[in-house]
């Protein structure tokens, strides 16, 4: 059978390289024809006025809620202020019902949403999301002195408490299908499941990270083990055309994360 060797192989390689170059030139030309990237009006206005408008639903403690003095406070409020400081602008909050947040962003009532907003892959055509800053997914919890359970793989023959009907319940049922002898014990709230763990009724619990951190902060004697069982990343949303603003937010988030500020916020509020 004839093989391509020497000159022929060289010609084929040159042909492929030529083809790639033609494609690259065509793509570059199309981008040029499409004109320059649209200006980021939100960013320009924020810079001009020195104010960034943050949309949130202040009914989700400890991320955002109205305190006894009528002030909006919480993890996200502090995070927004940290971002504002790094962007060199004042932060103003717009309190909007959770279901109205995306519409408020779209209609320009706010520049960003910072409101314990879960990443939603179905919305990525309508908004642009930042890097995540908190994972609120389901986690596995054991008592602090537990040595035998380090992850879901150690749940064989164990009693696991969950909130009946919740996402934690759904995840536990999924695990129970493949982990022999894992027994589900249902409770009415995640707090009841965690208390049952503390009291020794069950050997582990599955609950969302927000309830878990809050419970551990208040009651102690428990720890999260293994990787999160599910992911529910909280992100910041901007309008899709606010690309300069998004980049600035992402850079600030990296600083906040790497400088330890994010960990401090978590310790303060969760």
């Amino acid at each position: 059978m004839k093989e391509l060797e020497g000159k022929e192989a060289g010609r084929l390689a040159a042909y492929i390289i030529g083809l790639v170059l033609v494609v690259l030139i065509a793509v570059a030309s199309l981008r040029l024809l499409a004109g320059p990237r649209a200006p980021d009006e939100a960013w320009e206005r924020i810079q001009q006025e020195g104010i960034i408008w943050v949309g949130l639903d202040a009914s989700w403690p400890p991320f955002e809620y109205v305190d006894d003095d009528g002030q909006i406070v919480g993890f996200d409020v502090d995070l927004a202020r940290e971002l504002g400081q790094r962007l060199g602008v004042e932060v103003e909050f717009v309190n909007i019902g959770f279901d109205g947040l995306y519409d408020a962003l779209k209609s320009g009532k706010c520049d960003v949403i910072i409101s314990a907003l879960p990443y939603d892959p179905m919305m990525t055509k309508d908004v642009a999301y930042s890097h995540y800053y908190f994972n609120a997914g389901q986690v596995l919890i054991v008592r602090s002195d537990e040595r035998g359970i380090e992850g879901e793989g150690d749940l064989r023959g164990k009693r696991v408490g969950v909130e009946w009907g919740s996402a934690g319940d759904m995840e536990a049922r999924r695990l129970a299908k493949r982990i022999e002898g894992m027994e589900l014990v249902l409770y009415r709230t995640p707090e009841e499941a965690l208390r049952a763990l503390k009291d020794g009724e069950v050997e582990a619990a599955i609950a969302d990270a927000v309830s878990t951190y809050s419970f551990i902060k208040a009651e102690g004697e428990m720890k999260i083990v293994g990787e999160p069982l599910t992911d529910e990343p909280y992100v910041i949303a901007v309008r899709p055309e606010s690309q300069v603003l998004l980049q600035a937010i992402n850079e600030a988030l990296v600083e906040i994360k790497e400088g330890g500020t994010l960990a401090r916020l978590r310790e303060r509020w969760l």
């Binding site: 192989a9 084929l12 989700w60 909130e163 009946w164 009907g165 919740s166 049922r173 249902l186 709230t189």
Partner: protein
């Protein structure tokens, strides 16, 4: 130095061409979805139902899978929405492809279909109005559609709900609500349906439970609206009453009261019927249920939602002999709503069952 066989190079080019052609042609043709063997719903409570949302579900396998899961949950009744504007885009030109698909799959799963009819096509309403706007000049057009729909589905669908929540302005095309006007519409639909199939059962529209103050521009109390329908002579033009019975944060056994929205408000609608000499007629709850969104003020905990839903089915079976079925809103959406609405569902968009699905299934099997 590496070497390439000429025959391999030709094969690569041919493969690339084949892939390009496939992409241009739009991929493989649509998959054939057989109806499958006749199935039957096994349940210990024959009044159990769900409201499906298949109107905008395009893919046939998803329609079939949804209805299989409804059957497997143990709910023999479904309520489905059949928008007039989708099936009669031009006067007298009907396209039954999609509703045929939904109904045929439902019947093959052993389900009974309750069809809700409304949604005005563009040609039957003025520019700038919503699909809920139907003026009296076009009542006969709606009557023609009802006739065509009932005739087309003769032998397959028996229950037809005429319109939806006409006691709120939104569902009446943003006009002031008009119980007398709706009664005239009901009369037209009833007569045309019976003309098409004397066996057809006509259900008066489910009214939105609400506490609107008198004279509100947004709506009228469901209890007052129904009384005014009776005053306008509606009794002669429906066979069953449709009821909407959302529980909000209250359990199903929370007592009914005129100034309260809860599941048992159903009994107040029933009282209006009895008071007007319609005690012999049955009711069907076509929308009801609880929501377990973590951040919505009218939601309950997921466990409460399960408990209340099962108790609602039980209540209808044990205490409401005048209630033929309870359809809980909503089985599954074809795509996420991105609002609290997503937390009314029994299964995800991806068909993954939520715990409520499994718990209701256990109840229907008599395991609870």
């Amino acid at each position: 130095m590496s070497s390439i066989k000429l025959s391999d190079a030709k094969k690569i080019v041919k493969l690339a061409l084949a892939i390009a052609l496939l992409l241009i042609m739009g991929g493989p043709s649509e998959r054939f979805v057989p109806l499958g063997p006749q199935q039957h719903v096994e349940t210990m409570n024959p009044k159990m139902g769900v409201h499906t949302r298949l109107t905008d579900e395009v893919e046939e396998w998803k329609i079939k899978r949804t209805l299989e899961m409804v059957r497997e949950m143990g709910t023999p009744w479904i309520v489905e929405y059949f928008p007039w504007g989708y099936y009669e885009p031009r006067k007298g030109r009907f396209d039954w492809t999609h509703p045929d698909m939904v109904v045929n799959h439902a019947l093959r799963q052993g389900l009974t279909v309750i069809a809700r009819l409304d949604f005005v096509p563009q040609w039957a309403r003025p520019e700038g109005t919503t699909p809920r706007y139907l003026d009296e000049d076009h009542y006969d057009d709606f009557g023609d559609f009802v006739y065509a729909f009932v005739e087309h589905f003769k032998g397959r669908v028996k229950h037809f709900v005429i319109w939806n929540e006409p006691n709120i302005s939104f569902e009446w095309g943003y006009r002031p609500v008009d119980p007398e006007g709706y009664t005239r519409l009901l009369k037209v639909a009833y007569l045309r349906a019976k003309e098409a199939n004397p066996e057809a059962l006509i259900l008066a529209a489910g009214l939105a439970p609400n506490l609107a103050p008198e004279g509100s521009e947004w709506g009228m109390s469901d209890l007052e609206y129904l009384q005014r329908m009776y005053d306008a002579g509606a009794s002669d033009y429906f066979d069953l009453m449709t009821i909407h019975a959302y529980g909000w944060t209250f359990p199903p056994d929370d007592l009914p009261a005129a100034d309260k929205i809860n599941f048992a408000r159903t009994e107040l609608i029933r009282q209006v019927m009895v008071r007007n000499g319609d005690g012999h007629k049955k009711c069907i709850v076509t929308e009801a249920g609880w929501n377990d969104h973590p951040r919505w003020t009218k939601a309950v905990r997921p466990g409460e939602r399960i408990e209340y839903t099962i108790r609602a089915y039980e209540k209808a079976l044990a205490e409401w002999d005048w209630c033929e079925a309870v359809a809980i809103w909503a089985f599954r959406y074809p795509r996420p709503a991105h609002t609290y609405q997503d937390y009314f569902t029994f299964v995800g968009v991806d068909f993954f069952p939520r715990p409520i699905y499994l718990e209701v299934q256990s109840y229907a099997r008599g395991e609870k």
